[in-house]
Symmetry: C2
Subunit: 266 residues, 2 copies
């Protein structure tokens, strides 16, 4: 049972550009205070920058389209349309995670190619350098259904048990906790956001005290936190689902009227 | 800029029963280490218990109905139906927050009557006892659209700035952060869950280092984190919205066929 954690952001991470060695840079930034079982929390922004995932801002809408697997909902705002989409990582978020804050003028930033792989690479590199097991969580800022504002969540992870699956375990009274699965990696991301801040250049934080959740590198990553489209009760926005139903209902009634008793519904 | 936080759960909170004085009990539990600016994070479960919000388990389904303002989505499971609803607090969650873990056999627990008011009362009481300003966040465990597992979130708050509204402020490059509103109280709740745990009897945690978010008691509570039904893109589950659209579309086509050119749609 973890009873105390400490979370701090580290100074000394410079502006990251394509090709930078994140293991070396993050390693230098945390080097003066590293212990086995620490979890290093890294904003996806610097992973993307190291990977050179910048595109011209003029191409932003096309970039969002390219990153999109499935449009979940759209809503117009003055001057544009917000697109909530499922991206190629399975993550549902606004604008497919394409980001224009803290990036060079005239450019926007795509999410890392494979955040779980990036996390594994960083965890392996830091582990080798310091000779201790360290977890890595890569974060992005996500909006939520039904709640105002955003929280940071885990979009990549390595050497961290991302879900504390309590199904089948017992509560303090011995009763089975049948559906309880705390999304630990998302809670770690949220805790780290409290010290990283959005406006400051502090993209790396360390969480100490969660040794119990630090694993070997074979543990599944943050991808397991993603609920896939078909099984999700909110796979489509309410307006979009209503419109789809309306079209189908309208067509169904029309078809029925034209060809009574027919099953045809083209 | 907050650079370091410490989060710990406190021992010594006994099993809570109706009428217990939470200010005295929580105060005793945290007394050996309290500083101005600490935020006390309390599981809603013990607030509910102190308020006597237990009902017979046989009445669980009716209790959920009574707590429900609006059904958002339903999904059958073996032996029942999961109801995702907006409850009377505006919170969208499964079973209206009616809880059967860590409660006496044969009973289930409803959410506190007014968690923001409970938080204010606890914050005022603790502040008076210790002579320093303390924040209070009351938490519950919420599922999320699109993501597996649950995280703790703030359902009540007092003396805490629940949203860090950065709209209009600038990033490290001087560019305006136009939609960034970190849900700080939810991130605090998530951080505290990492040390409270679900299976253990540790319903109270303290977060130290977020003095910058501790305010006077007049600050709006966690209710401001709730996005109200009509404005939410996910106010209705995809299947439910589709079905509603289908009915309306079918009826619209039928009406059109019966009375060409008519606007009637009853």
């Amino acid at each position: 049972m973890t009873e105390r954690i400490t979370v701090w952001s580290v100074a000394g991470v410079p502006e990251i550009v394509q090709g930078d060695d994140l293991v070396a840079i993050i390693g230098d930034a945390i080097a003066n205070d590293v212990e086995a079982g620490d979890i290093v929390v890294v904003s996806s922004k610097i992973v993307s920058k190291a990977e050179g995932r910048l595109v011209a801002a003029d191409d932003r809408e096309q970039a969002i389209t390219d990153e999109t697997v499935r449009v979940v909902a759209t809503r117009p705002y003055p001057g544009g349309v917000t697109r909530i989409v499922e991206n190629r990582l399975g993550i549902v978020q606004a604008a497919a995670g394409v980001d224009s804050s803290n990036v060079p003028d005239g450019q926007v930033l795509l999410l890392p190619v494979d955040p779980d792989a990036s996390a594994r690479s960083i965890a392996a590199g830091l582990g080798a350098r310091f000779g201790v097991a360290l977890g890595v969580v890569i974060t992005d800022t996500l909006g939520r259904a039904w709640r105002v504002g955003q929280t940071d969540a885990a979009i990549g992870a390595a050497a961290v048990r991302v879900i504390d699956d309590l199904r089948g375990s017992s509560d303090a009274r011995g009763r089975v906790l049948d559906v309880t699965m705390p999304a630990v990696a998302d809670e770690i991301a949220a805790a780290a956001d409290l010290v990283k801040g959005k406006a400051a250049a502090r993209p790396v934080a360390v969480v100490r005290g969660l040794d119990a959740f630090v694993t070997d590198l074979d543990e599944p990553g943050a991808r397991t936190l993603v609920r896939s489209g078909e099984s999700d009760m909110f796979r489509l926005g309410s307006d979009e689902a209503y419109d789809e139903g309306f079209r189908d209902g309208f067509e169904s009634a029309s078809t029925e009227d034209r060809t009574p008793g027919s099953d045809a519904d083209d």
